[in-house]
Symmetry: C2
Subunit: 267 residues, 2 copies
Protein backbone atom coordinates (compact mmCIF):
# COMPACT_ATOMS: atom_id res chain seq x y z
CA UNK A 1 0.00 0.00 0.00
CA UNK A 2 2.84 2.40 0.77
CA UNK A 3 4.05 2.17 -2.80
CA UNK A 4 0.70 3.22 -4.17
CA UNK A 5 0.71 6.61 -2.45
CA UNK A 6 2.94 9.00 -4.36
CA UNK A 7 4.56 11.92 -2.50
CA UNK A 8 2.65 14.22 -4.80
CA UNK A 9 -0.59 13.07 -3.19
CA UNK A 10 -2.19 16.02 -1.41
CA UNK A 11 -3.02 13.88 1.62
CA UNK A 12 0.41 12.22 1.87
CA UNK A 13 1.02 13.16 5.51
CA UNK A 14 -2.39 11.98 6.62
CA UNK A 15 -1.93 8.77 4.64
CA UNK A 16 1.41 8.10 6.28
CA UNK A 17 -0.21 8.32 9.71
CA UNK A 18 -2.79 5.85 8.50
CA UNK A 19 -0.03 3.45 7.68
CA UNK A 20 1.08 3.46 11.30
CA UNK A 21 -2.44 2.50 12.29
CA UNK A 22 -2.47 -0.23 9.64
CA UNK A 23 0.86 -1.56 10.87
CA UNK A 24 -0.64 -1.64 14.37
CA UNK A 25 -3.60 -3.51 12.98
CA UNK A 26 -1.35 -6.04 11.26
CA UNK A 27 0.34 -6.62 14.64
CA UNK A 28 -3.10 -7.06 16.31
CA UNK A 29 -2.54 -3.88 18.33
CA UNK A 30 -5.36 -2.04 16.53
CA UNK A 31 -8.80 -3.56 15.93
CA UNK A 32 -10.87 -3.22 12.81
CA UNK A 33 -13.10 -0.81 14.73
CA UNK A 34 -9.97 1.23 15.39
CA UNK A 35 -9.54 1.77 11.65
CA UNK A 36 -13.01 3.30 11.34
CA UNK A 37 -12.34 5.44 14.40
CA UNK A 38 -9.14 6.74 12.88
CA UNK A 39 -10.99 7.65 9.69
CA UNK A 40 -13.59 9.54 11.70
CA UNK A 41 -10.81 11.40 13.48
CA UNK A 42 -9.28 12.37 10.14
CA UNK A 43 -12.48 14.18 9.21
CA UNK A 44 -12.49 16.26 12.37
CA UNK A 45 -8.75 16.89 12.09
CA UNK A 46 -9.44 18.33 8.67
CA UNK A 47 -12.02 20.68 10.17
CA UNK A 48 -9.32 21.89 12.58
CA UNK A 49 -7.06 22.72 9.63
CA UNK A 50 -4.82 19.86 10.84
CA UNK A 51 -3.28 22.09 13.50
CA UNK A 52 -3.32 22.53 17.28
CA UNK A 53 -5.78 25.35 17.87
CA UNK A 54 -5.60 27.69 20.91
CA UNK A 55 -8.53 25.98 22.65
CA UNK A 56 -6.62 22.69 22.50
CA UNK A 57 -3.55 24.37 24.06
CA UNK A 58 -5.78 25.67 26.83
CA UNK A 59 -7.16 22.17 27.50
CA UNK A 60 -3.65 20.65 27.45
CA UNK A 61 -2.52 23.02 30.19
CA UNK A 62 -5.52 22.16 32.36
CA UNK A 63 -4.94 18.46 31.71
CA UNK A 64 -1.31 18.65 32.76
CA UNK A 65 -2.20 20.64 35.87
CA UNK A 66 -4.88 18.09 36.79
CA UNK A 67 -2.48 15.20 36.30
CA UNK A 68 0.30 16.87 38.31
CA UNK A 69 -2.13 17.55 41.17
CA UNK A 70 -3.56 14.03 41.13
CA UNK A 71 -3.08 11.63 44.02
CA UNK A 72 -3.14 8.58 41.73
CA UNK A 73 -3.11 9.48 38.02
CA UNK A 74 -3.48 6.82 35.33
CA UNK A 75 -2.92 7.08 31.59
CA UNK A 76 -5.20 4.62 29.84
CA UNK A 77 -3.94 3.01 26.63
CA UNK A 78 -5.93 1.34 23.90
CA UNK A 79 -4.89 -0.07 20.55
CA UNK A 80 -4.85 3.14 18.53
CA UNK A 81 -2.88 4.97 21.22
CA UNK A 82 -0.34 2.16 21.37
CA UNK A 83 0.00 2.18 17.58
CA UNK A 84 0.40 5.93 17.18
CA UNK A 85 2.27 7.25 20.23
CA UNK A 86 3.82 4.52 22.39
CA UNK A 87 7.05 6.45 23.09
CA UNK A 88 5.35 9.74 23.89
CA UNK A 89 2.83 8.01 26.12
CA UNK A 90 5.57 6.34 28.16
CA UNK A 91 7.52 9.60 28.34
CA UNK A 92 4.47 11.54 29.50
CA UNK A 93 3.72 8.94 32.19
CA UNK A 94 7.29 9.34 33.38
CA UNK A 95 7.05 13.13 33.58
CA UNK A 96 3.75 12.93 35.45
CA UNK A 97 4.59 9.98 37.66
CA UNK A 98 1.43 8.37 36.30
CA UNK A 99 0.71 4.68 35.88
CA UNK A 100 -0.07 3.15 32.50
CA UNK A 101 -3.08 0.88 32.17
CA UNK A 102 -4.14 -0.98 29.05
CA UNK A 103 -7.89 -1.09 28.65
CA UNK A 104 -9.44 -2.85 25.74
CA UNK A 105 -12.94 -3.11 24.41
CA UNK A 106 -12.08 -6.06 22.20
CA UNK A 107 -9.99 -8.67 23.99
CA UNK A 108 -9.05 -10.95 21.12
CA UNK A 109 -6.43 -13.56 21.65
CA UNK A 110 -2.92 -12.20 21.36
CA UNK A 111 -4.02 -8.58 21.49
CA UNK A 112 -3.02 -7.78 25.07
CA UNK A 113 0.36 -9.35 24.41
CA UNK A 114 0.85 -7.33 21.22
CA UNK A 115 0.07 -4.07 23.00
CA UNK A 116 2.28 -5.02 25.92
CA UNK A 117 5.14 -5.68 23.50
CA UNK A 118 4.73 -2.29 21.84
CA UNK A 119 4.70 -0.49 25.19
CA UNK A 120 7.68 -2.44 26.57
CA UNK A 121 9.65 -1.64 23.42
CA UNK A 122 8.78 2.00 24.01
CA UNK A 123 10.32 1.77 27.48
CA UNK A 124 7.36 1.03 29.76
CA UNK A 125 8.42 -0.85 32.89
CA UNK A 126 5.04 -1.20 34.56
CA UNK A 127 1.87 -1.87 32.57
CA UNK A 128 -1.38 -2.38 34.41
CA UNK A 129 -4.61 -3.85 33.07
CA UNK A 130 -3.14 -7.00 31.60
CA UNK A 131 -4.62 -10.39 32.26
CA UNK A 132 -2.51 -11.34 35.27
CA UNK A 133 -4.59 -9.78 38.05
CA UNK A 134 -8.08 -10.23 39.42
CA UNK A 135 -9.96 -7.34 37.79
CA UNK A 136 -12.17 -4.78 39.49
CA UNK A 137 -15.29 -3.65 37.66
CA UNK A 138 -17.00 -0.39 36.88
CA UNK A 139 -20.77 -0.23 37.07
CA UNK A 140 -23.15 0.55 34.23
CA UNK A 141 -21.16 -1.02 31.46
CA UNK A 142 -22.41 -3.82 29.25
CA UNK A 143 -19.06 -4.67 27.72
CA UNK A 144 -15.57 -5.81 28.51
CA UNK A 145 -14.62 -2.27 29.31
CA UNK A 146 -16.10 -2.46 32.77
CA UNK A 147 -12.99 -4.37 33.75
CA UNK A 148 -10.29 -2.24 35.33
CA UNK A 149 -7.11 -2.92 37.25
CA UNK A 150 -7.50 -2.65 41.05
CA UNK A 151 -4.02 -1.10 41.26
CA UNK A 152 -4.74 1.43 38.49
CA UNK A 153 -7.99 2.92 37.26
CA UNK A 154 -10.01 1.36 40.09
CA UNK A 155 -8.26 3.53 42.68
CA UNK A 156 -7.24 6.44 40.44
CA UNK A 157 -8.58 9.93 41.04
CA UNK A 158 -7.60 11.25 37.59
CA UNK A 159 -7.68 9.12 34.43
CA UNK A 160 -6.61 10.20 30.96
CA UNK A 161 -8.49 8.18 28.33
CA UNK A 162 -7.34 9.26 24.86
CA UNK A 163 -9.33 8.10 21.82
CA UNK A 164 -11.86 6.50 24.13
CA UNK A 165 -15.28 4.97 23.63
CA UNK A 166 -18.24 6.94 25.00
CA UNK A 167 -19.62 4.19 27.22
CA UNK A 168 -16.33 3.83 28.99
CA UNK A 169 -15.90 7.53 29.56
CA UNK A 170 -19.42 7.82 30.91
CA UNK A 171 -18.86 4.91 33.29
CA UNK A 172 -15.57 6.34 34.51
CA UNK A 173 -17.15 9.70 35.19
CA UNK A 174 -20.06 8.09 36.99
CA UNK A 175 -17.53 6.15 39.06
CA UNK A 176 -16.30 9.50 40.36
CA UNK A 177 -13.08 9.80 38.37
CA UNK A 178 -11.81 13.06 36.93
CA UNK A 179 -11.55 12.40 33.21
CA UNK A 180 -9.18 13.85 30.64
CA UNK A 181 -9.47 12.87 27.01
CA UNK A 182 -7.78 13.56 23.71
CA UNK A 183 -10.43 13.35 20.99
CA UNK A 184 -10.61 15.11 17.64
CA UNK A 185 -14.40 15.05 17.69
CA UNK A 186 -15.79 17.70 20.05
CA UNK A 187 -19.26 16.20 19.58
CA UNK A 188 -18.39 12.69 20.73
CA UNK A 189 -19.82 11.40 23.96
CA UNK A 190 -16.29 11.05 25.29
CA UNK A 191 -15.50 14.68 24.49
CA UNK A 192 -18.74 15.71 26.14
CA UNK A 193 -18.40 13.56 29.26
CA UNK A 194 -14.77 14.37 30.02
CA UNK A 195 -13.81 17.07 32.52
CA UNK A 196 -10.97 18.17 30.26
CA UNK A 197 -11.28 17.57 26.51
CA UNK A 198 -8.25 18.15 24.31
CA UNK A 199 -9.49 18.31 20.72
CA UNK A 200 -6.26 17.64 18.94
CA UNK A 201 -4.57 14.92 16.95
CA UNK A 202 -2.75 12.70 19.44
CA UNK A 203 0.65 12.71 17.71
CA UNK A 204 0.61 16.52 17.76
CA UNK A 205 -0.72 16.66 21.30
CA UNK A 206 1.47 14.38 23.39
CA UNK A 207 4.82 16.07 22.68
CA UNK A 208 3.26 19.38 23.70
CA UNK A 209 1.90 17.83 26.90
CA UNK A 210 5.35 16.47 27.74
CA UNK A 211 6.87 19.94 27.27
CA UNK A 212 4.09 21.50 29.34
CA UNK A 213 4.60 19.00 32.16
CA UNK A 214 8.33 19.79 32.28
CA UNK A 215 7.64 23.51 32.23
CA UNK A 216 4.93 23.42 34.91
CA UNK A 217 7.06 21.27 37.23
CA UNK A 218 9.79 23.90 37.09
CA UNK A 219 7.72 27.04 37.11
CA UNK A 220 4.50 26.40 39.03
CA UNK A 221 3.68 25.41 42.59
CA UNK A 222 0.59 23.55 43.77
CA UNK A 223 -1.40 26.71 44.41
CA UNK A 224 -0.69 28.01 40.93
CA UNK A 225 -1.67 24.72 39.35
CA UNK A 226 -4.92 24.72 41.35
CA UNK A 227 -5.65 28.24 40.27
CA UNK A 228 -5.06 27.39 36.61
CA UNK A 229 -7.40 24.44 36.97
CA UNK A 230 -10.10 26.35 38.81
CA UNK A 231 -10.24 28.88 35.98
CA UNK A 232 -10.65 26.17 33.35
CA UNK A 233 -14.10 25.72 31.79
CA UNK A 234 -14.43 22.66 29.54
CA UNK A 235 -17.80 23.75 28.11
CA UNK A 236 -16.23 27.01 26.96
CA UNK A 237 -13.26 25.19 25.46
CA UNK A 238 -15.55 22.79 23.59
CA UNK A 239 -17.55 25.75 22.42
CA UNK A 240 -14.38 27.36 21.05
CA UNK A 241 -13.43 24.17 19.22
CA UNK A 242 -16.85 23.75 17.65
CA UNK A 243 -16.88 27.45 16.74
CA UNK A 244 -13.50 27.05 15.05
CA UNK A 245 -14.90 24.22 12.91
CA UNK A 246 -18.06 26.20 12.21
CA UNK A 247 -16.02 29.20 11.07
CA UNK A 248 -13.79 26.99 8.94
CA UNK A 249 -16.87 25.61 7.19
CA UNK A 250 -18.36 29.08 7.01
CA UNK A 251 -15.44 30.37 4.97
CA UNK A 252 -15.69 27.42 2.58
CA UNK A 253 -19.47 27.67 2.37
CA UNK A 254 -19.20 31.11 0.82
CA UNK A 255 -17.75 29.59 -2.33
CA UNK A 256 -19.02 26.03 -2.34
CA UNK A 257 -16.31 25.05 -4.81
CA UNK A 258 -12.98 26.32 -3.56
CA UNK A 259 -10.43 24.11 -5.30
CA UNK A 260 -8.72 25.69 -8.25
CA UNK A 261 -10.60 23.84 -10.96
CA UNK A 262 -10.18 24.38 -14.68
CA UNK A 263 -12.92 26.47 -16.27
CA UNK A 264 -15.61 24.63 -18.17
CA UNK A 265 -14.31 24.30 -21.69
CA UNK A 266 -10.70 23.93 -20.53
CA UNK A 267 -11.28 20.49 -19.14
CA UNK B 1 -18.02 -8.00 17.21
CA UNK B 2 -21.78 -7.93 16.63
CA UNK B 3 -22.37 -9.36 20.06
CA UNK B 4 -20.40 -6.61 21.75
CA UNK B 5 -22.69 -3.83 20.54
CA UNK B 6 -25.84 -3.73 22.64
CA UNK B 7 -29.05 -2.32 21.13
CA UNK B 8 -28.96 0.34 23.78
CA UNK B 9 -25.82 1.78 22.21
CA UNK B 10 -26.59 5.27 20.92
CA UNK B 11 -24.73 4.62 17.67
CA UNK B 12 -26.30 1.19 17.05
CA UNK B 13 -27.57 1.99 13.54
CA UNK B 14 -24.28 3.47 12.42
CA UNK B 15 -22.46 0.48 13.91
CA UNK B 16 -24.66 -1.95 12.03
CA UNK B 17 -23.77 -0.25 8.74
CA UNK B 18 -20.13 -0.61 9.71
CA UNK B 19 -20.65 -4.31 10.05
CA UNK B 20 -21.69 -4.52 6.42
CA UNK B 21 -18.45 -2.84 5.49
CA UNK B 22 -16.53 -5.24 7.73
CA UNK B 23 -18.28 -8.20 6.15
CA UNK B 24 -17.28 -6.82 2.77
CA UNK B 25 -13.73 -6.51 4.02
CA UNK B 26 -13.74 -10.12 5.24
CA UNK B 27 -14.82 -11.16 1.74
CA UNK B 28 -12.00 -9.03 0.22
CA UNK B 29 -14.56 -6.72 -1.38
CA UNK B 30 -13.51 -3.77 0.81
CA UNK B 31 -9.88 -2.79 1.36
CA UNK B 32 -8.35 -1.63 4.60
CA UNK B 33 -8.29 1.88 3.16
CA UNK B 34 -12.02 1.49 2.62
CA UNK B 35 -12.52 1.09 6.37
CA UNK B 36 -10.83 4.44 7.07
CA UNK B 37 -12.87 6.05 4.31
CA UNK B 38 -16.07 4.75 5.82
CA UNK B 39 -15.10 6.18 9.20
CA UNK B 40 -14.42 9.55 7.63
CA UNK B 41 -17.82 9.42 5.98
CA UNK B 42 -19.45 8.69 9.34
CA UNK B 43 -18.13 11.98 10.68
CA UNK B 44 -19.61 14.00 7.84
CA UNK B 45 -22.86 12.04 8.01
CA UNK B 46 -23.09 13.07 11.63
CA UNK B 47 -22.72 16.72 10.61
CA UNK B 48 -25.67 16.23 8.26
CA UNK B 49 -27.77 14.98 11.15
CA UNK B 50 -27.72 11.56 9.44
CA UNK B 51 -30.45 12.63 7.03
CA UNK B 52 -30.90 13.52 3.36
CA UNK B 53 -30.85 17.30 3.30
CA UNK B 54 -32.64 19.38 0.61
CA UNK B 55 -29.39 20.22 -1.17
CA UNK B 56 -28.73 16.50 -1.59
CA UNK B 57 -32.22 16.00 -3.08
CA UNK B 58 -31.49 18.80 -5.52
CA UNK B 59 -28.23 17.14 -6.58
CA UNK B 60 -29.92 13.74 -6.93
CA UNK B 61 -32.45 15.18 -9.37
CA UNK B 62 -29.71 16.77 -11.48
CA UNK B 63 -27.75 13.52 -11.37
CA UNK B 64 -30.70 11.47 -12.58
CA UNK B 65 -31.45 13.99 -15.34
CA UNK B 66 -27.81 13.92 -16.46
CA UNK B 67 -27.76 10.13 -16.50
CA UNK B 68 -31.06 9.88 -18.41
CA UNK B 69 -29.78 12.36 -21.01
CA UNK B 70 -26.42 10.63 -21.38
CA UNK B 71 -25.38 8.93 -24.59
CA UNK B 72 -23.28 6.33 -22.76
CA UNK B 73 -23.69 6.47 -18.97
CA UNK B 74 -21.57 4.33 -16.66
CA UNK B 75 -21.96 3.64 -12.94
CA UNK B 76 -18.57 3.00 -11.43
CA UNK B 77 -18.34 0.53 -8.54
CA UNK B 78 -15.59 0.16 -5.98
CA UNK B 79 -15.33 -2.05 -2.92
CA UNK B 80 -17.32 0.07 -0.48
CA UNK B 81 -20.13 0.56 -2.99
CA UNK B 82 -20.29 -3.18 -3.66
CA UNK B 83 -20.37 -3.91 0.07
CA UNK B 84 -23.07 -1.40 0.96
CA UNK B 85 -25.49 -1.16 -1.98
CA UNK B 86 -25.04 -3.93 -4.57
CA UNK B 87 -28.77 -4.44 -5.16
CA UNK B 88 -29.62 -0.76 -5.41
CA UNK B 89 -26.70 -0.15 -7.72
CA UNK B 90 -27.82 -2.87 -10.09
CA UNK B 91 -31.42 -1.64 -9.94
CA UNK B 92 -30.38 1.94 -10.66
CA UNK B 93 -28.28 0.85 -13.63
CA UNK B 94 -31.33 -1.00 -14.94
CA UNK B 95 -33.58 2.05 -14.61
CA UNK B 96 -31.03 4.27 -16.31
CA UNK B 97 -29.88 1.82 -18.95
CA UNK B 98 -26.37 2.47 -17.66
CA UNK B 99 -23.42 0.10 -17.71
CA UNK B 100 -21.67 -1.03 -14.55
CA UNK B 101 -17.90 -0.85 -14.37
CA UNK B 102 -15.74 -2.01 -11.49
CA UNK B 103 -12.79 0.27 -10.92
CA UNK B 104 -10.33 -0.46 -8.20
CA UNK B 105 -7.41 1.40 -6.72
CA UNK B 106 -6.08 -1.68 -5.00
CA UNK B 107 -6.10 -4.74 -7.22
CA UNK B 108 -5.21 -7.47 -4.77
CA UNK B 109 -5.55 -11.05 -5.81
CA UNK B 110 -9.09 -12.31 -5.50
CA UNK B 111 -10.59 -8.87 -5.07
CA UNK B 112 -12.04 -8.41 -8.56
CA UNK B 113 -13.57 -11.85 -8.30
CA UNK B 114 -15.08 -11.09 -4.88
CA UNK B 115 -16.68 -7.89 -6.16
CA UNK B 116 -17.89 -9.62 -9.29
CA UNK B 117 -19.53 -12.30 -7.15
CA UNK B 118 -21.32 -9.71 -5.01
CA UNK B 119 -22.61 -7.87 -8.07
CA UNK B 120 -23.70 -11.05 -9.87
CA UNK B 121 -25.57 -12.17 -6.74
CA UNK B 122 -27.28 -8.77 -6.77
CA UNK B 123 -28.47 -9.46 -10.32
CA UNK B 124 -25.86 -7.79 -12.52
CA UNK B 125 -25.63 -9.45 -15.92
CA UNK B 126 -22.89 -7.30 -17.46
CA UNK B 127 -19.95 -6.05 -15.41
CA UNK B 128 -17.21 -4.08 -17.13
CA UNK B 129 -13.72 -3.30 -15.84
CA UNK B 130 -12.77 -6.82 -14.91
CA UNK B 131 -9.48 -8.31 -15.94
CA UNK B 132 -10.61 -9.98 -19.14
CA UNK B 133 -10.16 -7.11 -21.61
CA UNK B 134 -7.28 -5.01 -22.83
CA UNK B 135 -7.66 -1.86 -20.71
CA UNK B 136 -7.67 1.73 -21.92
CA UNK B 137 -5.93 4.35 -19.79
CA UNK B 138 -6.68 7.81 -18.49
CA UNK B 139 -3.92 10.39 -18.47
CA UNK B 140 -2.46 12.09 -15.40
CA UNK B 141 -2.85 9.26 -12.97
CA UNK B 142 0.03 7.65 -11.12
CA UNK B 143 -1.88 4.62 -9.89
CA UNK B 144 -3.86 1.62 -11.01
CA UNK B 145 -6.91 3.78 -11.37
CA UNK B 146 -5.83 5.09 -14.72
CA UNK B 147 -7.02 1.80 -16.14
CA UNK B 148 -10.54 1.87 -17.55
CA UNK B 149 -12.62 -0.41 -19.69
CA UNK B 150 -12.68 0.57 -23.40
CA UNK B 151 -16.36 -0.48 -23.58
CA UNK B 152 -17.30 1.51 -20.46
CA UNK B 153 -15.71 4.56 -18.85
CA UNK B 154 -13.30 5.07 -21.78
CA UNK B 155 -16.16 5.93 -24.12
CA UNK B 156 -18.71 7.17 -21.56
CA UNK B 157 -19.94 10.75 -21.60
CA UNK B 158 -21.37 10.62 -18.05
CA UNK B 159 -19.78 8.62 -15.22
CA UNK B 160 -21.14 8.27 -11.71
CA UNK B 161 -18.27 7.58 -9.28
CA UNK B 162 -19.68 7.16 -5.76
CA UNK B 163 -17.25 7.16 -2.79
CA UNK B 164 -14.41 7.90 -5.17
CA UNK B 165 -10.79 8.87 -4.71
CA UNK B 166 -9.85 12.45 -5.62
CA UNK B 167 -7.14 11.57 -8.14
CA UNK B 168 -9.50 9.44 -10.09
CA UNK B 169 -12.23 12.03 -10.18
CA UNK B 170 -9.80 14.70 -11.29
CA UNK B 171 -8.49 12.48 -14.07
CA UNK B 172 -11.98 11.62 -15.26
CA UNK B 173 -12.95 15.25 -15.39
CA UNK B 174 -9.77 16.16 -17.25
CA UNK B 175 -10.58 13.36 -19.68
CA UNK B 176 -13.74 15.28 -20.57
CA UNK B 177 -16.30 13.17 -18.74
CA UNK B 178 -19.29 14.61 -16.93
CA UNK B 179 -18.88 13.42 -13.36
CA UNK B 180 -21.50 12.62 -10.73
CA UNK B 181 -20.45 11.56 -7.27
CA UNK B 182 -22.04 10.53 -4.00
CA UNK B 183 -19.74 11.69 -1.20
CA UNK B 184 -20.58 12.67 2.36
CA UNK B 185 -17.65 15.06 2.52
CA UNK B 186 -18.40 18.28 0.62
CA UNK B 187 -14.75 19.31 1.06
CA UNK B 188 -13.23 16.27 -0.60
CA UNK B 189 -11.46 16.66 -3.91
CA UNK B 190 -14.00 14.32 -5.45
CA UNK B 191 -16.89 16.44 -4.20
CA UNK B 192 -15.16 19.53 -5.53
CA UNK B 193 -14.21 18.12 -8.93
CA UNK B 194 -17.54 16.51 -9.75
CA UNK B 195 -20.11 18.29 -11.90
CA UNK B 196 -22.89 16.98 -9.66
CA UNK B 197 -22.08 16.19 -6.02
CA UNK B 198 -24.65 14.37 -3.93
CA UNK B 199 -23.64 14.79 -0.29
CA UNK B 200 -25.59 11.95 1.20
CA UNK B 201 -25.04 8.55 2.70
CA UNK B 202 -25.12 6.04 -0.16
CA UNK B 203 -27.64 3.62 1.38
CA UNK B 204 -30.06 6.52 1.85
CA UNK B 205 -29.30 7.98 -1.56
CA UNK B 206 -29.62 5.15 -4.06
CA UNK B 207 -33.25 4.18 -3.30
CA UNK B 208 -34.22 7.82 -3.78
CA UNK B 209 -32.33 7.97 -7.07
CA UNK B 210 -34.15 4.86 -8.28
CA UNK B 211 -37.50 6.43 -7.43
CA UNK B 212 -36.50 9.67 -9.09
CA UNK B 213 -35.40 7.86 -12.25
CA UNK B 214 -38.77 6.07 -12.48
CA UNK B 215 -40.63 9.31 -11.88
CA UNK B 216 -38.62 11.36 -14.40
CA UNK B 217 -38.98 8.70 -17.10
CA UNK B 218 -42.75 8.89 -16.76
CA UNK B 219 -43.20 12.60 -16.24
CA UNK B 220 -40.41 14.45 -18.03
CA UNK B 221 -39.31 14.73 -21.65
CA UNK B 222 -35.83 15.48 -22.90
CA UNK B 223 -36.37 19.23 -23.00
CA UNK B 224 -37.58 19.27 -19.43
CA UNK B 225 -34.63 17.20 -18.26
CA UNK B 226 -32.24 19.56 -20.07
CA UNK B 227 -33.90 22.53 -18.47
CA UNK B 228 -33.64 21.01 -15.00
CA UNK B 229 -29.96 20.33 -15.62
CA UNK B 230 -29.23 23.78 -17.05
CA UNK B 231 -30.60 25.36 -13.89
CA UNK B 232 -28.43 23.22 -11.64
CA UNK B 233 -25.43 24.89 -9.97
CA UNK B 234 -23.10 22.48 -8.14
CA UNK B 235 -21.14 25.24 -6.40
CA UNK B 236 -24.38 26.54 -4.90
CA UNK B 237 -25.40 23.06 -3.82
CA UNK B 238 -22.02 22.45 -2.18
CA UNK B 239 -22.33 25.81 -0.50
CA UNK B 240 -25.72 24.80 0.89
CA UNK B 241 -24.33 21.52 2.22
CA UNK B 242 -21.35 23.18 3.90
CA UNK B 243 -23.66 25.86 5.31
CA UNK B 244 -25.91 23.15 6.75
CA UNK B 245 -22.92 21.62 8.55
CA UNK B 246 -21.75 25.04 9.68
CA UNK B 247 -25.17 25.84 11.12
CA UNK B 248 -25.35 22.44 12.81
CA UNK B 249 -22.02 23.13 14.51
CA UNK B 250 -23.10 26.70 15.25
CA UNK B 251 -26.05 25.51 17.29
CA UNK B 252 -23.85 23.12 19.27
CA UNK B 253 -21.11 25.71 19.71
CA UNK B 254 -23.43 27.91 21.70
CA UNK B 255 -23.39 25.41 24.54
CA UNK B 256 -20.13 23.55 24.12
CA UNK B 257 -21.44 20.73 26.28
CA UNK B 258 -24.87 19.71 25.05
CA UNK B 259 -25.31 16.16 26.35
CA UNK B 260 -27.46 15.86 29.42
CA UNK B 261 -24.68 15.26 31.93
CA UNK B 262 -25.16 14.86 35.65
CA UNK B 263 -24.31 18.00 37.61
CA UNK B 264 -20.97 18.10 39.37
CA UNK B 265 -21.53 16.52 42.75
CA UNK B 266 -24.14 14.10 41.37
CA UNK B 267 -21.61 12.04 39.58
Amino acid sequence: MHDDVPDSHPRAESLRMRHEVIEGWEKKVVTTAGLFAHGRGEAFNYLLGEQTIPAAREAMKAAVAMLLLARAPVLSVNGNVAALVPHDLVALAGELDARIEVNLFYREEGREEAIETVLREAGATEILGLGDVEPATLNDLESNRRIVDPRGIAKADVVMVPLEDGDRTEALRKAGKKIITIDLNPLSRTAQWAHVTICDEITRCLPQMIDTAREFKQSMNEEQLKELLSEYDNAKVLSKVISFMRDYLGRLAEQGVFLDLPMEGDD
